[in-house]
Amino acid sequence: MGIDVRNRMAMRAAEEITSGMVVNLGIGIPSLVPNHLPRNIQVMFHAENGIVGMGASPEKGWEDENLCNAGGFPVTTIPGSSYCDSAMAFGMIRRGLVDLTILGSLQVSEKGDIANWIVPGKKVPGMGGAMELAQKARKVAVLMYHTDKNGVSKLVKSCSLPLTASNCVDIVITDLAVFKIKEGSMILSELFAPYTIAEVTAKTACEFSIAENLRFIDYERN
């Protein structure tokens, strides 16, 4: 029984989470991350609309429209959770008290710039809370497909789309590989089975070095 690509990415992102962390998840693939955490881990999931301590999705029929995540989807809460207004939720972010944010993105540059708030002339969503999260979370992880629908690399030398924030991404997890960004340089640190360095290099439109202890991830074998 295979693990689909999205869940493989989410599984890898889940490894970034350690007990005691306050974690903010973006919409899309990041919302799958909680499904891949060890049972006994004590994490507080934070939402910009004013929740600390979100739990799993409710069973169908048990949704409460007044208990939703920042994306508007029903959630539950865990023991120790609390509600606050959105100003306080962002105070936590601005103060650097969110240990980790896991975001989707349209592009990430080799220096760690992130562009995920606007596509000129097309979909124009606005930045929402992405700017604060990218600029202020202690650690910024991006979960995104390596290339767009046309096969164009979303890892770039310099973002062509308007930036959300610059020099802030710490780790990028794609469907092919994992990159860490340290002091403005990108390092290929992990490869998802069955991809090779050559394949990843071919699909990546920016410079990167290769970690000495490159890891090969095969969740279906472990």
Binding site: I51, E63, Y83, G126, G128, Q135, L163
Partner: protein, 230 residues
């Protein structure tokens, strides 16, 4: 229900505060926690040319989105309009002006308005081409900040779980979201409550917004839209 402060009223009477061209601030986040009866009243009264201030433009038929989709707003100040494609179309066609503010900055601007402050200083977006555009900057202790100005509105509308005759408000779970901030920032604040309870029946500790900030309270008819996830 006793009404010693004269704040409890009907939707019909509350509608007298609304007029074409006004600035209207609304509580809610993705439609959750937006006041359905007041939004319906604004549509029914056919109010036009609104300047809307709030977190987002909801979904096309959810929350404030119902007003936006029907082209009743000439301008929106929000953190995103991504969940309402109609808002994006109106903006692209030049039929509605949109001012984007980073979400946390927007919340602080609304709170600053409610607290009688002139502005707040933040470094969020200080180097950002769009966010920093046309804004004053100030350096404190060698660090650069944006001056983000306070926001108020002629009328603020919020959704509460419970209200008492003084206008003390309690919210429900994550439907609290932007409502306490918006409740403080209106020159007139109108709260739509799921339940109106007698004075003294709310625990003084549980009250999130003291009635000092609230001018009118109306009973809610309940949400009259279908949620995006339904």
């Amino acid at each position: 229900m006793e009404n010693p402060f004269g704040k409890i009223t009907t939707l019909e009477q509350a509608m007298e505060y609304f007029y074409d061209g006004m600035t209207l601030m609304f509580g809610g986040f993705g439609g959750v926690g937006s006041p359905p009866a007041l939004i319906g009243g604004i549509l029914d009264k056919n109010i036009q040319n609104l300047v809307l201030i709030g977190n987002d433009t909801g979904f096309p038929e959810i929350g404030i989105g119902k007003i936006v989709s029907r082209k009743r707003a000439r301008k929106v100040i929000a953190s995103h309009i991504g969940s309402n494609p109609v808002a994006g179309e109106l903006m692209t066609r030049g039929e509605m002006e949109v001012e984007f503010s980073p979400q946390g900055t927007l919340m602080e601007r609304i709170r600053a308005g409610g607290m009688g402050l002139g502005a707040i200083l933040t470094d969020v977006g200080v180097d950002h081409e769009f966010v920093a555009k046309d804004k004053q900057k100030l350096t404190l202790n060698g660090k650069e900040y944006l001056i983000e100005t306070a926001l108020t509105a002629e009328v603020a509308i919020v959704y509460a779980k419970k209200a008492d005759p003084f206008g003390n408000l309690v919210f429900d779970k994550s439907a609290r979201n932007t409502n306490p901030l918006v409740a403080m920032a209106g020159k007139i604040t109108i709260a739509e409550a799921e339940e109106i309870v007698p004075l003294g029946s709310l625990d003084p500790e549980e009250i999130v917004i003291p009635g000092v900030f609230v001018d009118r309270v109306i009973p809610s008819c309940g949400v009259n839209w279908k949620w995006a996830w339904e």
